[in-house]
Amino acid sequence: MNYKQKVPPAPAQSAQAAMNLREIDWPPLALVPVLALAALPLVGSGSTWLTLTVAGLAMGMIVFIIASGLTLVFGLMDVLNFGHGVFIALGAFVATSVLGAMGDYTQSASLWRNLLAVLPAMAVAMLVAGAIGLAFERFIVRPVYGQHLKQILITMGGMIIGEELIKVVWGPQQIPLPLPAGMQGAWFIGDAAVEKYRVVAVLVGLAVFALLAWTLSRTKVGLLIRAGVQDREMVESLGYRVRRLFVGVFAAGSALAGLGGVMWGLYQQSVVPQMGAQVNVLIFIVIIIGGLGSTGGALIGALLVGLVANYTGFLLPKAALFSNIALMVAVLLWRPQGVYPVTSR
């Protein structure tokens, strides 16, 4: 074969980087800072604004952790999983058991000793939610591939059964999930109180996002997931089994929902079997705002939802109930397929 064709010189790296930067779709990235800055004069007090903003970002990060798996599940196999919420509740309840058994560590004032309890609780919650996610995919989702209406009905049914099973194991009542001693209280920046746990939540959320972004952009599996979200048939024509990939994504998404459940439970400091259904609406709003199938969009959607919920809760408590729906309507009027629509969908 003739390999000796003339090769044109490659463009300079810096020029190429500049071109790549120009190709980034900036407006959605600006939404979160613009919203936060716009809220500042409305809230009035800088310290209150900082407290609300950190609370909004923390809530947004937890919601993102939960929603990231769901958006990929939809993007990759067109599966509407309304049962995603059950993994949130499952993760939270597993955490009550693990943390309950590690009282020595949770009652210590040392943040490091607290983490020795919280991290295993998160790991066990993720393992359990991931394993149950595998079974959920096999027995509930797989028989209804390609049938949206049946997916909605059967996955909701799956969630109801899941909730009842949680009641069988842990009982129907609300269970307290107190924050470990070292994570309680707040740090004061001037007059502003920034709750410690919210900072922890933001950091964990950032770590999850970084890991997810790295996997999706730097690994072959991530490349396959991104390609599969755009054109499943073509990925299969290249010799890869998208269905196998999907099972892995479903389990990982369920595990992340479990992790999000632990964090949500600690955020609320109590858990109820119905908590998954309560958060479900929120995460669907987030993935619709983000553009179905887009993880970057889900992050922006989650942060917007978190901030709007906290600002309106303070400014217009009566409007807080529908603020997220209003946000979704506003975003869809601007970009009808979400802030980062997945091309070719």
Binding site: M1, N2, Y3, K4, Q5, K6, V7, P8, A10, P11, Q16, M19, N20, E23, T219, K220, L223, L224, R226, A227, Q230, D231, E233, M234, V235, E236, S237, L238, G239, Y240, R241, V242, V342, T343, S344
Partner: protein, 241 residues
């Protein structure tokens, strides 16, 4: 070893309630370039999709290298070392050109592990692939996307290359590069099956030809015989080369 790498016998395909292929017989000789011609709606693209398992043959046999592949699923068929470029090109618009090619390089985990000499060869054939290497493929023009689609199919050596209308929407200079690419691939021993509407393109490249109409192959034989017989062209295709 059969002289034919790919053989379809009596293949029927239904899409929903529609009966599209009505017993396709097609033989693709090893190491040659076979052209599949025919008017719009004759069933050419459906034949290619049926070979790839994207539509299921309801009847008949599809043999690749002597093995029946009609019941295999698409990934398994592709793993038999078959590359396919669909009519819509199947470009991943949100991925860069590099990532599009990396996906097709099944043995490579990163761009650094791709066969550099082969990439250099591809860059020579399709300069746009190198020029837009780190750009999202969705931003390219139709012709550039077509080049990326064919480049992706040949990023690793394959036994059989199936391309649906490679010359569609291409500028004449690029058509020349495309012809050169297929000619070089053929010399390297790759068996090629092309669906084509561009008759000049077909005439310059094809060793054998099959003409489809109404879901059947109505003529099969050497390309040269068809090229030299204006009456046959008129009767089969309604025009001359």
């Amino acid at each position: 070893m059969s002289a034919h790498l790919l053989e379809l016998q009596g293949v029927h395909t239904h899409i929903g309630a529609y009966h599209i292929l009505h017993g396709v017989d097609l033989a693709v000789p090893r190491g040659q370039l076979t052209m599949l011609l025919g008017r719009n709606g004759a069933g050419k693209s459906t034949t290619l999709r049926t070979i790839m398992g994207l539509w299921r043959a309801s009847q008949g046999s599809i043999r690749f290298d002597g093995r029946d592949i009609a019941r295999l699923d698409t990934p398994r068929i592709a793993q038999l070392n078959i590359a396919y470029v669909p009519e819509a090109m199947g470009i991943f618009a949100d991925l860069t050109v590099k990532e599009n090619l990396l996906l097709a390089a099944r043995g490579a985990r990163s761009a650094a592990q791709m066969d550099a000499a082969r990439l250099e060869w591809i860059f020579g054939l399709f300069p746009a692939v190198e020029k837009f290497w780190n750009h999202p493929a969705g931003k390219l023009s139709g012709g550039q996307k077509q080049m990326v689609a064919v480049a992706r199919a040949i990023v690793e050596p394959r036994d059989l290359l199936i391309v649906d209308e490679p010359s569609k929407g291409l500028a004449p200079a690029i058509v020349h590069n495309m012809i050169e690419a297929f000619a070089q691939l053929k010399r390297s021993g790759t068996t090629i099956l092309l669906v084509e509407q561009n008759l000049r393109f077909a005439q310059r490249l094809g060793d054998t030809v099959a003409v489809m109409d109404d879901g059947r192959v109505v003529h099969a034989g050497p390309m040269q015989a068809l090229a030299e017989d204006a009456a046959l062209q008129r009767s089969l295709l309604g025009l001359s080369l």
